[in-house]
């Protein structure tokens, strides 16, 4: 049994008559996917450590509709969006943080037109703010110091929203040796999961996209492949397994690196 996390829900906050500082949007992957749940827990560990007054929607949260929209089902997307917006607005949510770039993009860019206006942050941005404002301290002498780490830019964080610095700044805080892949930032290669690809078999081709991207990463000879998206994490983890490198290289979310560097 791992440590007990303090995870208040919006409903509980409302019952206590208080408004938390920020809502943590967990996302479907972060809620149900076994690997992504670890990222969710790591991020909450950070939130708890920094004494952030946050809450989640819990069972009131539903898919943002990102994947439905990209599959072409605008109806389903807007049904999801309108339902979620009703709940978020009922709780008078102003700020949202999420560990999923797909939720981040949809909440930030596609909800406003449907009546959902929030300040939306990716967890790497939020953790960065915690560090710069002194609310969270990262030991300069930590488990990852000097480790060779390459960062895979999630499409929906990087190209889609021009967030390239926040995750890299966190890696720098850890004192790691950041090595860039040849294709990075604006020209980063997709992991292969976006646009609803996560949920279907790829079309006929001569290679899977996550394998090509894993090869990009392996060329940097890393100890760790870091990313900031649960889907990218799955794709890269699978790629590393196919290349039989899982004993030497781990695929970790930036939040996991920060959380685990804290020690217990």
């Amino acid at each position: 049994m791992s440590e007990v996390l303090n995870v208040p829900t919006m409903a509980e906050c409302m019952a206590e008559g208080r408004q938390p500082e920020i809502l943590f949007w967990v996302g479907s992957a972060g809620s149900y996917d076994d690997r992504a749940k670890k990222i969710t827990r790591a991020f909450v560990k950070i939130l708890n450590k920094a004494n952030v007054d946050f809450a989640v929607l819990g069972t009131e949260e539903s898919s943002t509709g990102d994947v439905a929209k990209r599959a072409g089902n605008e109806f389903l997307f807007q049904m999801q969006a309108v339902t979620n917006i009703e709940i978020l607005n009922a709780y008078e949510v102003k700020r949202i943080v999420t560990a999923c770039p797909h939720s981040y993009n949809t909440l930030k860019n596609e909800y406003p037109q449907l009546g959902g206006n929030y300040e939306v942050l990716h967890h790497t941005q939020f953790i960065n703010d915690l560090i710069t404002s002194g609310r969270l301290k990262v030991e300069s002498d930590n488990a990852f110091k000097g480790k060779r780490i390459t960062f895979h830019d999630p499409c929906y964080l990087g190209r889609a929203n021009d967030v390239y610095e926040a995750p890299r700044a966190l890696l720098e805080t850890l004192g790691v040796e950041l090595v860039e892949m040849k294709r990075h930032r604006k020209t980063a290669l997709c992991c292969g999961a976006g646009g609803a690809q996560m949920f279907k078999e790829p079309e006929k081709g001569d290679k899977d996209i996550n394998i090509l991207r894993t090869e990009d990463a392996l060329k940097t000879n890393p100890n760790i492949i870091a990313t900031g998206c649960p889907y990218c994490n799955t794709m890269m983890t699978d790629g590393v397994k196919v290349k039989e490198k899982e004993a030497d290289i781990s695929v970790l979310d930036v939040a996991e690196l920060i959380a685990n560097a804290q020690g217990e």
Binding site: T9, E61, G72, L76, M79, C190, G194, K200, K204
Partner: protein, 435 residues
């Protein structure tokens, strides 16, 4: 008889410009076949984008070799065209180098043109080598069938010939060479013709002069039929390009209306439409043909110069899938032209030809291979958005035809039933807390 050359020149000029104008009208008509798009916002930001991306070539130089060579050809094209103004005045009024009266400045200008002409010539040779000898991968992808390949080479030959004619014209102009003003390149070419009589020299000079201007007019009219239209359309296209973050895909308003009705508890679903209300046919969701796309997307298609930077960065294409963002744009233009010809042939009215963009040009296999990663959008040097067309066609497949791949249908059913793409219970959403 004295005015024969002037009259001939005027006729050629009028014909060249007239035919071009006629095709431009057709081009505008075709683009307007698209659906409305409101792009009247943020004028200053749009002008800035046009200035940076089209005028300033900011995205071209991301690939330095092609980028710098392209800037040379682009500058050469714009600057040397000042010379065309002189040619037109000389041609119409029978003068010779009318601008030479300004003296030293003229020498400087012509000198600059000559240097640029040589640089353009060299750059175009390098471009030709990249296409035909080095065979850069992106110029040899599946969609680069015979016409797109030839088109690319024809443009290069045109430019080589035009630059040569310009320099030969100067080299054989005895009067100009005697002036010795601005003949920085042509003075080294003049000796090639040294054995010839003054009469022959004059004949060559006149020949080069005429071929140069006729060549320019032919090239102008070639544009409409070629991928080279980008030299004009890059400007409006970057102006009308997407301003929102790349990840933001448009929300369909027609869907919003229906969703709002569905979610509104006060709406009576069985209510008869109010008296006199129009029973309008609901708008088609998504796109199956070019008329379903927005006019900006159609402008995108005409602007594409088939450089293939998009395709060379597309994860699906890089891993051997059929999808190529460049092909999406080429298909859209090909189909649009076909629709345009259909309208021309049927007295301004489109007659159903049993074909459409979806299926006859773009296959569902291509559409479903896209990861919506925006690499193609980021790579395009002139702000073309192939992803938006792919999304519109997926919308048609899913919302009009229910033709999504089975796994995606399962995924969507899961979202409908339990609010997640996987078949897990909504009540288990917070279980991670205690695991």
């Amino acid at each position: 008889m004295e005015y024969l050359p002037n009259i001939l020149f005027a006729i050629i000029l009028a014909a060249g410009i007239g035919y071009f104008a006629k095709n431009v009208k057709k081009l505008i008509r075709n683009i307007k076949l698209g659906r409305d798009a409101d792009v009247s916002d943020n004028k200053s930001e749009r002008f800035k984008n046009m200035a940076m991306i089209a005028l300033g070539q900011s995205k071209m130089v991301r690939r330095p070799v092609a980028g710098i060579l392209h800037i040379i050809v682009y500058l050469g094209f714009i600057i040397i065209n000042i010379e065309v103004l002189e040619i037109i005045i000389d041609g119409l009024f029978g003068t010779h180098r009318i601008f030479s009266v300004i003296g030293a400045t003229y020498g400087f200008l012509i000198g600059a043109f000559e240097v640029l002409a040589l640089l353009v010539f060299v750059s175009v040779i390098v471009f030709w080598i990249r296409r035909n000898i080095i065979k850069l991968k992106r110029f040899w992808k599946a969609e680069m069938t015979s016409w797109p390949k030839n088109d690319g080479n024809f443009i290069l030959y045109f430019e080589m010939v035009l630059m040569t004619l310009f320099l030969v014209m100067n080299a054989t102009d005895v009067h100009f060479q005697t002036m010795n003003l601005g003949n920085v390149i042509s003075q080294y070419m003049a000796p090639w013709f040294s054995g010839l009589s003054e009469g022959t020299l004059h004949l060559i000079e006149r020949g080069a002069w005429w071929l140069h201007i006729v060549g320019i007019l032919v090239f102008l009219n070639y544009l409409y039929f070629s991928k080279h239209l980008h030299i004009l359309l890059a400007f409006p296209n970057t102006y009308y390009g997407k301003l929102a973050p790349k990840g933001q895909l448009n929300n369909l308003e027609s869907v919003t209306n229906e969703v709002k009705m569905m979610m509104d508890p006060n709406v009576d679903p069985f209510a008869a439409p109010p008296e006199g209300a129009e029973t309008a046919v609901p708008e088609k969701f998504g796109a199956s043909d070019v008329q379903d796309l927005s006019w900006v997307q159609l402008l995108n298609a005409y602007t594409c110069t088939e450089c293939g930077r998009c395709t060379s960065e597309c994860p699906a294409n890089l891993t051997g899938k059929k999808l190529s963002p460049r092909k999406i744009m080429m298909d859209t233009r090909d189909r649009l032209e076909e629709v345009g010809r259909n309208i021309d042939a049927n007295k301004g009215e489109f007659k159903d030809d049993g074909k459409q963009l979806l299926g006859d040009y773009i296959s569902t296999e291509e559409l479903w291979a896209c990861t919506t990663c925006n690499a193609c959008v980021e790579a395009c040097p002139v702000s073309i958005d192939p992803l938006s067309i792919i999304l519109e066609m997926r919308r048609y497949l899913v919302m009009e035809q229910s033709a999504a791949p089975t796994e995606l249908n399962n995924m969507m059913t899961n979202i409908e039933n339990n609010g997640a793409p996987w078949p897990y219970n909504q009540m288990d959403r917070l279980n991670w807390k205690d695991e």
